[in-house]
Amino acid sequence: MWFKRSQPGIKPQIKKSVSDGIWIKCDQCNEIVYCKQLEEYAWICTQCNFHFRIDSHKYIQLFLDENSFQEMDAHLKSIDLLKFKDKKSYSDRLKEAKRKTGLTDAIRTGRATISGIPVVFCVMDFSFIGGSMGSVVGEKIARAVDVAGNQKLPLIIVSASGGARMMESILSLMQMAKTASRLAWFSENGGLFISILTNPTMAGVMASYAMLGDIHLAEPGALIGFAGPRVIKQTIGEELPEGFQRAKFQLDHGFVDAVVSRIDMREILIKILTFF
């Protein structure tokens, strides 16, 4: 019962694209920031270091060499096998998410280079049903791991997810086992996997591939954990400590190697990739 799609503190949906307007109010410090300036600074608030949520396109722009991303398996699409219906049907949710995001599902995978170094790069997109992991996310990761393993390329996954996709029910839970078993094979064969945790990385995604990296890098302030804060609060009946499940908390408890500002992430990746 602990897989949560959205949590308090996480805005369920990006309300405005950060590049839409000219000015934007920072969610954290309420400062009005100039969009152009934000864009130059990797969509980080220059006043308070708040990392605005950005989509997969922007991560591709920020971390990868220009025009190097060659997308794989973009044709894979979710289907509503269970005819799942809550307030809306899953089919309608999928249609809506596709229309709104222009994506086919919550992850994009592909080959790319970073400073000329070839990698397999996967990036989740929270705007597609909360970055939830269903069959397509699991399958795309599995295939990306295969490519990385067979071609001896480093694997990078940028996670942004509320967890497993409830509308695919048990099949989404099984994606945890699917991705983990692929990564087991990848790791045994000497593959390098860098897992980047952004806001939020929770539940089923966190309890599978996101925590199976050789190196874990987290964006500052990102909510990272297993159970959602609301569920924990309800269970224990207490307020949660300040900074609970944030990137720094995970660093202090030994679950991430470093908290890295988005503006520095590409440089850190290059450092790690050239070390090998």
């Binding site: 602990w2 699409k77 497993a164 099949l171 087991a184 297993f226 924990i232």
Partner: protein
Amino acid sequence: MNVLEFESHLHEMEENIEKFRIMSEKDNIDLNKQILDLEKRLKTEKEAVYSKLTPWQTVQIARHAQRPVLEDYINLIFTDFIELHGDRRFSDDRALIGGFATLGDQKLMLIGHNRGNNVTENIERNFGMALPDGYRKALRLMELAERFGLPIVTFIDTPGAYPGIHAEERGQAEAIARNLCEMAKLKVPIVCIVTGEGGSGGALGIGVGNVILMLKHSIYSVISPEGCASILWRDGAFAEQAAESMKITAQSLKKLGVVDEIVSEPLGGAHTNPVATAKSVRSAILKHLRKLNAMKADGLIENRFEKYAHLGVFTS
């Protein structure tokens, strides 16, 4: 015995039969014919109810307070159990236990959620909601089994992994992720059985196997119906609808290919006859272990890998 709402009329019938019996003994009247008749009607009615259980009714049976728990199975079908404690890291989780055990003439490593049989035990065992320490203990025991060539049998019965501050501090997600990854690689047979509630990652954390069995009235899901309802319907009261939508029964999961075999339960559910239930569990496990024991390590790993590789639906 806790009476479930949808069974209340069956319970009344049972009480009537009992009354007739007492009456016939006390007043020395022959009511055998009436009793037999009532019993026949009860059986027919029970069969009718149990042949068309709704998912929500199944949830209630799966969570029934008297449903057999791991300790019952240990007492009923395992001839010995040498419990091994602790994760060698931090603590000994009481919600998830394990140790050497023998089933028939099969020596094995038994691991399972441990809910307890009464409220005191439930509390002591945290209702079967394990900490990361539990998952790490399970992994330690599984690796121990692998070194000595013992097959692994896991009993799954948990509302979910424990959602608490310490669980997060000690890396609940990492502990589960690690188990999924390591279980994929183990060189020995793994048979998992969901006996009650298979609650999401907390279930899967000991649930990666060559064969996945489910008791007929157990459930297995990505999130509890209540949790699903509170997120998607924004109201936990829609749990019944969520249970319908999520396809959480053994029958649905068998169709989806997640479960390999459904293990039968006595009419009226496992709690009405734990001995018979345990017997079915025993023969199902032994049957699959016999097949898996014939496989080599590589074959077992390949078999597990392929099983999960094929789970999921999409168009391409």
